[in-house]
């Protein structure tokens, strides 16, 4: 009965109700779309990082600290015979890191040199280009990414000198040639990275079959590989990227928090006005035998109904939008893409998880109920006799 009365009342409110419903459905649509976008981004980034960088899990040499480039030259350990067998079977790929400096056109640029076996199929890096046909040739083929090529103004076929220190601290340098500029979507395999043959890097580092990372094709059954290695699952590897995406997400939240606030103000305002205009009605309802509690519930329900109608609107008008971005995807604007986060280069297909949708609805619902309920404090304070006389 109260529901019906509430429903009739907000229909009776006309354009004011319509505005509230529209604002709410904009908030809902926007929040779901935006979260879908970031969730979709996270999924793409994850897929790409699995494909290009981390496989289904990887080991890191214990000294390696990705935030400290000076750990690079200390972070390597020889592969165990079992691991060598896994590599031979195509189940793992070792990658050796080295700090280095390149001098394209005499400009000094610090890089991370990464040695990867030419015959591997776990990562999408086109390592076949790294094959050294003539062992005595003085020029080593390397691969760099598109962004790296752009920032260093290098292209395929270009030669330049690359310098590094071997594990004893002895300077070594070779001329290298860009065999391939690869189109990797993962910035951490691109920016300031130079890829070369694993065995050759081992040789020039005065190492033998040693790696910094071992990337796995499948999740390991037992991830313990001794004290030299630290296992990182896909989730561990994604933590940084996820955090960066979350940080971007916060920016989006600000906008929708403001919109939600606007919706809250609109509903709050509608409620205040409605209570004021209908004080005589409130008095009448008390005279008819409703308790104040029931009347408060009635008014709160009216506000909450905006949310329900907003949901219907969102379903009707938001659905095509959701489907469009869910199927066709969305290309991030360029200014955002300057951040070094995987997934940016593709058009991002929004992903709407039920949990995300439900939690969004719950949040908006909660805010709406609160905004509807807050002004009803006036009803609680109202005296029936005054209300009947139109006094407040």
């Amino acid at each position: 009965m109260i529901l019906k009365l509430a429903y009739k009342n907000i229909l009776g409110n006309g354009w004011r109700s319509l505005i509230n419903v529209i604002i709410l459905s904009i908030v809902l649509t926007g929040m779901i779309w935006m979260q879908g976008l970031y969730d979709g981004w996270g999924r793409i980034a994850r897929r790409q990082m699995i494909a290009w960088q981390f496989g289904s899990g990887h080991y890191e040499q214990v000294n390696y600290d990705k935030y400290d480039s000076f750990t690079l030259d200390k972070s390597n350990a020889a592969l165990s015979p079992e691991m060598e067998k896994q590599v031979a079977d195509g189940k793992a790929v070792p990658i050796l890191y080295s700090a280095g400096v390149i001098y394209p056109q005499g400009r000094m640029t610090p890089v991370v040199i990464k040695g990867i076996p030419t015959q591997q199929s776990i990562l999408a890096i086109p390592t076949e280009y790294l094959k050294i046909a003539d062992k005595s040739a003085p020029v080593i083929p390397v691969i760099i990414g598109k962004q790296m090529a752009k920032s260093t103004r290098l292209s395929e076929g270009d030669q330049f000198t690359m310098r590094w220190k071997d594990i004893y601290g002895v300077f070594n340098a070779y001329d290298v040639v860009i065999a391939k500029v690869m189109n990797t979507p993962v910035p951490t395999t691109d920016v300031a990275q130079v890829w070369m043959d694993y065995d050759k890097l081992n040789e020039v580092k005065a190492l033998n079959n040693s790696a910094t990372l071992i990337v796995l094709k499948d999740k390991p059954v037992n991830s313990d590989l001794g004290s030299d290695w630290r296992y990182l699952s896909t989730d561990d590897s994604m933590a940084g990227t996820d955090a960066m995406i979350s940080a971007k997400r916060v920016g989006g939240y600000v906008i929708f928090t403001l919109l939600l606030f606007l919706a809250m103000v609109a509903i709050f305002d509608t409620q205040i006005l409605s209570i004021f205009k209908r004080r005589k009605e409130i008095g009448t309802l008390i005279a008819l035998g409703l308790t104040k509690r029931q009347i408060i519930r009635l008014f709160t329900l009216e506000g909450t109904l905006y949310m329900l109608l907003g949901t219907v609107f969102t379903g009707i008008f938001g659905m095509p939008l959701f489907l469009y971005f869910g199927i066709k995807g969305y290309s991030m604007p360029v200014d955002v893409s300057s951040y070094n986060i995987a997934g940016m280069s593709d058009s991002i297909k929004c992903y709407y998880s039920p949990i995300m949708i439900i939690s969004t609805f719950l949040i908006v619902m909660l805010v709406t109920v609160f905004a509807s309920w807050l002004p009803t404090a006036r009803i609680a304070r109202m005296k029936a006799t005054d209300a009947l006389l139109g006094k407040v």
Partner: protein
């Protein structure tokens, strides 16, 4: 002796004012029996509305006792007093106070929704009430589509639909012309006769006074006269 439904004993009502308090009703001793068709008269500001509100437990007295249907109203909880009103007391207001978003039928049905009646029972009761007031042809009309007299008849139907023991009517004819006033007075008297419902009016209107079988005069918050008339 008939059953006493309402009784006040040494009832006084103060309103707090800026400096002290204003006495709106003073030492009122009254009782109303079942089936009475009584009215409060008196000049403006004499306390008529205040008294009706206290009887209807919309307000409470400051001193003395007010017993309605055997219960001291000032001791009732919010829920109990709401229950008392929803079951046993019907209100009729000068300005009808219909809910604008409901049509005639829904307005009359509203009090029954509080009483947990089945749909059929409700429908029967609503139609019966609307028959009393002669508005069965206006079921779907909105209050703003009704004339003043029709509006007040709907509000009488709303007050009567739950078959209350007491109906409190505060200047029900003040906004109506003579013809409509007489019409609704006839209606109410008919209901009073047929159902034995106790009516207590507050009025300035001589037409109303003519219909009453008991006239209580208030002056400055005090009971000045209490005349029992021989029924017409």
């Amino acid at each position: 002796m008939s059953k006493i439904l309402i009784e006040t004993k040494h009832m006084t009502k103060y309103y707090p004012t800026g400096e002290g308090k204003f006495t709106a009703l003073q030492d009122i001793n009254l009782s109303f029996e079942k089936g009475e068709f009584a009215g409060l008269v008196g000049p403006s500001g004499s306390g008529k509305t205040t008294l009706l509100n206290i009887i209807g437990s919309l307000d409470t007295q400051s001193e003395g006792e007010v017993i309605v249907l055997g219960k001291e109203v000032s001791t009732l909880s919010a829920r109990q007093s709401a229950a008392l009103r929803s079951k046993h007391i019907g209100f009729i207001f000068q300005t009808y106070n219909l809910l604008p978003v409901y049509n005639v039928y829904e307005n009359v049905e509203l009090p029954l929704l509080l009483l947990k009646m089945s749909t059929e029972e409700r429908k029967k009761a609503v139609m019966e009430a609307l028959e009393w007031v002669g508005l069965t042809d206006k079921l779907k009309s909105r209050p703003n589509q009704l004339s003043g007299g029709q509006g007040q008849r709907v509000s009488i139907a709303r007050a009567m639909v739950k078959k209350p023991q007491i109906v409190l009517a505060d200047e029900p004819t003040a906004n109506l012309d003579t013809e409509n006033s007489l019409h609704i007075l006839d209606t109410m008297l008919k209901i009073n006769r047929e159902t034995g419902t106790t009516f207590v009016f507050s009025t300035h209107d001589q037409k109303v006074v003519n219909y009453l079988n008991r006239v209580i005069t208030l002056v400055d918050g005090k009971k000045a006269k209490d005349d029992l008339k021989v029924s017409v």
